[in-house]
Amino acid sequence: MKHKTFMAFIWPSLLAMILFIALPIVSVGYQSLFIEHEQVLKEAKNCGPFGCTTSVSVDAEAMNALREEQPAGRYNGLGTYANGSHLAFDEITEIFASSQNFGEIRTRIMNLPFYKALIFTLAYTFIVTPLVIILGFIIAIVVNSIPKALKGPVIFFSLLPMLVTPLVGSLVLFWMIDSRGVIGALLQALFQDPSLSLKASPTLTWITLFVYGVWHSAPFAFVVFYAGLQTVPQDTLESAMVDGASRWERVRFVTIPYLMPLATFIALMQLMDNFRVFEPIIGFSAAANATTLSYLIYNDLRAAESPLFGSAAATSMLTIVGVIILLLPVLRRNWRDFNRKA
């Protein structure tokens, strides 16, 4: 395709991407370099239904003047990125200087909010992504081999977890694992332990979240693999049969190599999606045991009466950097394949 024709086709979506993706990211990046103006405080007598006290309030007029002058706030450079709620450079230096052994270093770093969230986010990404690919592949193979009449309904039901809104899906599961819920009560009966609660212990909460993640995303892998399975060359499969390949050998040596590019595609999508995991943390009320980077952003924007925009922006930028690092190996591989073909 000529470059000119290519541009003619691509420019509308390019424009949309610049307007709705690139520019907002630039603005978030800009925001992350600023913090709020120094607050001008004044002390005065304040009264209410429960009596009067002398207390502090913000001098709103003085603050308005400051904001008029510099609407973005005070320039802080990369200070927000380095502070204790993000990369925590000072804290980590201090931890290395004052800890006795590696175990203590690890525990203390894991206690910093950013790293606590990062470790769960990474664990979720690297456990859920491969399981989704494997499970999706198995479902696709199974569905592909069932009688035609059943295929429609089976595909529909296999897709349901993906169709359900993530928040709703996690809430449904959350109530099912409640000690009064179907799964929770069943587990208690199975293990004969009335105090067993999937919501209480960190390990069980993590496992629950992983299971939820696989449940929610497997249909996506399934659909992609199922579509791919329809295009597996039948003559290769037949000649493999003639050569005496068993069913498993046909899958192993014909189907899997053929579907490999699709697996790369799913891995790419899932790495991105899983690194941004958020809804299940809210849905499962899991914040006591597991936080993610996206949850930190949400918390900065929603928890306090006044949102911490700079902090949220810095975490957002760090998340983008994280996604890029995660995708690099996959992208590099794609790029190499592309060059080899060309």
């Binding site: 405080l41 304040n46 239904p49 502090v56 603050m63 204790g84 609660s197 006591a288 918390n299």
Partner: protein, 412 residues
């Protein structure tokens, strides 16, 4: 004939109620746009403010639990999207910080004769909000179960735990206690409650520097941890709404919960009428020998936006005066602990009023209190789960608060 008679009576009644519904608030013209949280008492007030609507006065409302997140952007625009923002002790702070609400002294002088002095929220000499109800957490208890085991409603946490222990030992309930300990806003509110009960302050006077009294804070944390030992293993997922079904299932006998939902616990349409009948309320227990109910007092009130025309401001204030009028009160005595003249306490208000009389302290209306509240909410769960020490939890809280306060410009 009878049909004709009935229809005409019905028609007259309809007309009468229609004219009643449009009470004459004396407003000539203007637009009233209300933003508020969503619970019974606020709905009632908005209903009564809406009665001021006429051909030339429009009254609209948006009642949502998201109000706190909407209010700042919505009142920043000029003209503001809402003319009235209903707020509480904490949610007024961002509006004050950003200078988004107007002083009400003139309007109070002209149209606010019905108000008590205690309803006027005065900041720096100016009336910035009008309070209409008080709220706080309180003790909920099952009077039948306590009486059966020879227990009186606990007034201190020592008695509270003794009662819980007795109920557990007697095999009545494995986890007789319930409270809002969900990490985030809820668990932080419980810490603030109990900490206020020690009589200590959060900040160095006049500054944003965190100055928790270490001994008091550790005492509070230990107290909270003891509570979790008598609570369901799922305590970390219980907020105010989630613990109501637990109570209605008869799985708890002692609970620290919000006064504003007390009414729904004993309402006639409660799904467990037997439990509802035996649910009683009292002041929150005191902690240690401090003798102060370990609970924060809150007020709910309304503010008027700054970025609106004076005409709309006047219309809004007068509509809200109708919203919190004596007539409204007469019909809704039970809906809240009203600060309005003519309020007669009922069963549901017993706890909040007992807190007030017991000398409970108000939730601090400080510009940086929200940051501390968030820091507490994010850093107490690990201690309560037994994963870290109280000192570590307090150190983490202080670190989180200091970082946030620096970013918000309160600390250097």
């Amino acid at each position: 004939m009878t049909t004709f008679f009935k229809t005409s009576v019905a028609a007259i009644a309809l007309m009468a109620s229609a004219s009643l519904a449009n009470a004459d608030c004396g407003i000539e013209k203007g637009s009233v746009r209300i933003l508020s949280n969503d619970f019974t008492a606020l709905r009632v007030i908005a209903d009564w403010a809406e009665k001021c609507a006429t051909g030339s006065v429009t009254v609209t409302r948006n009642q949502t639990q998201e109000h706190k997140n909407i209010q700042t952007p919505a009142l920043t625009t000029n003209p503001a999207s809402y003319t009235v923002a209903m707020v509480a002790s904490n949610s007024i702070v961002p509006l004050l910080n950003d200078d988004l609400i107007r002083p009400l002294d003139d309007l109070v002088a002209k149209y606010g004769q019905q108000l008590n002095d205690s309803q006027k929220i005065v900041v720096d000499g100016k009336i910035m909000a009008i309070a209409f109800m008080a709220n706080s957490q309180q003790l909920f208890y099952r009077d039948d179960i306590l009486a059966e085991h020879g227990l009186t409603p606990p007034t201190t946490y020592a008695e509270f735990f003794a009662a819980a222990e007795k109920l557990r030992a007697a095999g009545v309930m494995a986890t007789p206690v319930s409270s809002n300990f969900k990490p985030g806003w809820n668990v932080a509110a419980e810490f603030v409650n109990t900490y206020l009960g020690t009589g200590a302050d959060f900040f160095a006077p006049g500054t944003a520097a965190l100055a928790l009294d270490h001994d008091a804070a550790v005492e509070v944390l230990d107290n909270m941890k003891t509570m979790t030992e008598y609570m369901s293993a799922d305590w970390a997922t219980y907020d105010s709404n989630a613990q109501k079904p637990v109570w209605e299932a008869g799985e708890a006998a002692l609970s620290i919960a919000w006064g504003s939902i007390a009414g729904s616990y004993i309402a006639e349409d409660n799904p467990s009428p037997e439990i509802a009948k035996h649910t009683s309320f009292a002041a929150a227990p005191t902690i240690g020998d401090h003798g102060i109910p370990a609970v924060a007092l809150w007020w709910d009130g309304f503010t008027i936006a700054k970025n609106i025309s004076d005409e709309d401001a006047e219309a809004s204030f007068r509509a809200m005066m109708n919203g919190i009028s004596g007539d409204m009160l007469a019909e809704n005595q039970e809906a809240a602990v009203w600060l309005i003249d003519g309020y007669e306490p009922s069963k549901t208000s017993a706890g909040v009023l007992a807190n007030l009389q017991g000398g409970a302290r108000p939730y601090p209306m400080l510009p940086y209190m929200g940051l501390l509240h968030t820091a507490l909410g994010d850093n107490l769960a690990e201690f309560l789960q037994g994963k870290e020490s109280a000192d570590q939890a307090l150190a983490d809280t202080a670190a989180a608060y200091n970082t946030a306060a620096k970013e918000a410009g309160f600390l250097n």
